[in-house]
Amino acid sequence: MIQLQAPFTEDKIRALKTGDMVEITGVVFTGRDAVHKWIHDGNEPPVSLKDGIIYHCGPVVVKQEGKWVVTAAGPTTSIREEPYQAGIIEKYGLRAVIGKGGMGEKTRLACAKFGCVYLHAVGGAAQVLAEAIKEVETVYGLEQFGSPEAIWQLRVEKFPVVVTIDAHGRSLHKEIEASSSEKLAEIFSTIKK
């Protein structure tokens, strides 16, 4: 298990390899469809994303005794941000993207070029991931985007992920897709007509 702790410098990110199991400690920002599109349309993000981590997540957040508490925080499907992600990595110096399901070629290439990684969280593990969120530091765009789409600034501790796209051009998604496709062809050849 690799511990990835803030600050998320380019060196630390480049040291990660596809397949590594990682626990993150530091600050992450949630961002999903509305925010990605909004930044892509030319609006300045309200926070500095330099050396930052974006989490594709629409958390369930409730106010308890005047404080925000996250009660569910699983990842959402990342591929929807494929048209926007590479540009945001390039322009704002993002170091990691957390989500599920993997991303495409544009993002893979941007990760290699600018020193970013894609980290896959376990889909559906809403409770385990919520437990790893120790504090909601603040929220941006709550009125504008609504709760699930807002930018939540979260302090996480030992947040569990797997590196599936690294900063060296490798993608576990591509590799497993290729190996499983080969295996499928092999199985098909043994299925009698």
């Binding site: 699983g74 499907t77 599920k100 399901g101 993997g102 376990v122 889909g123 559906g124 593990a125 299925i191």
Partner: protein, 312 residues
Amino acid sequence: MNSTPDVPDVQAVAASSGVSSSKLYETFIEVIRKTSTELPQDVIDCIEAGKKTEEKDSRGAYAMGIITQNIGLAKVKSQPLCQDTGSILFYIHYPSHLDAEVISETARQAVAEATKKGYLRQNSVDSLTGKNNGTNVGPGSPTLHLEPWKKSHFDIRLMLKGGGCENVGAQYSLPDTRIGAGRDISGVKKCILDAVQQAQGKGCGPGVLGVTIGGDRATGYLSSKEQLLRKMNDTNPNPELAKLEKECTDAANELGIGPMGFGGKTTLMGTKVNALNRLPASFFVSISYMCWAYRRQGAEISADGTIQKWLY
């Protein structure tokens, strides 16, 4: 309090019928709560078994460890297992002398209340306007399959099926030249394995497949979901289908896709197949993929709405 004009007041509807609907209403809410926060034991057993087959310290074991931890936490906290609380699919058998309309309205009202309580996420959106009225009640939501029967009790089952896994479902029309599948059992097998390969980890595997051979397009998909009401450890009464189910699960687990698509041995926990008659001109294979967060529950419920026993 009834804040949605679309949802009639349960008590008012019940007043004119034979259903003790306040009891039934509470029971519906309890069925929803249990379904959303606890996995049935037969599914947990399969997840535990899958976890054991993954190599120590592998990514597969890591993912399965997080999954089992999540199952435990959700139950203890009585919080949704996964925040996508999914399509709400009810399968209801009811004593034929009761009023089906009242039962339906009671179910809808319970869904709205369970959403307010946080057992269900506000998860249903108007397809034209994109608006979410926050109740999970609207055209097609919840989906209610009602059937009267001669027995004196209810059998109410609920499945919550998330969007990620629903998106990787697939329907094949045989013959299919892309995968070389003809109109026979071998062709069906190819469809099933191809669907698993196409899904990769995107359906939050390890998954379970419900498959229907035959039917028209709509009944095929409908019936494939009903296969997911079967218990994981049951045996198909048709020996040919039982063999197909086992062969497909075994072969899928050779693909190496693994939990979440991280690589590993547990890609598929089970395959459940049935066959419907078809037209001579059509041959559909309809496949519904269920994620590891396999939320289905059900209960035998007396006519007055009291839960007698849980079914899973």
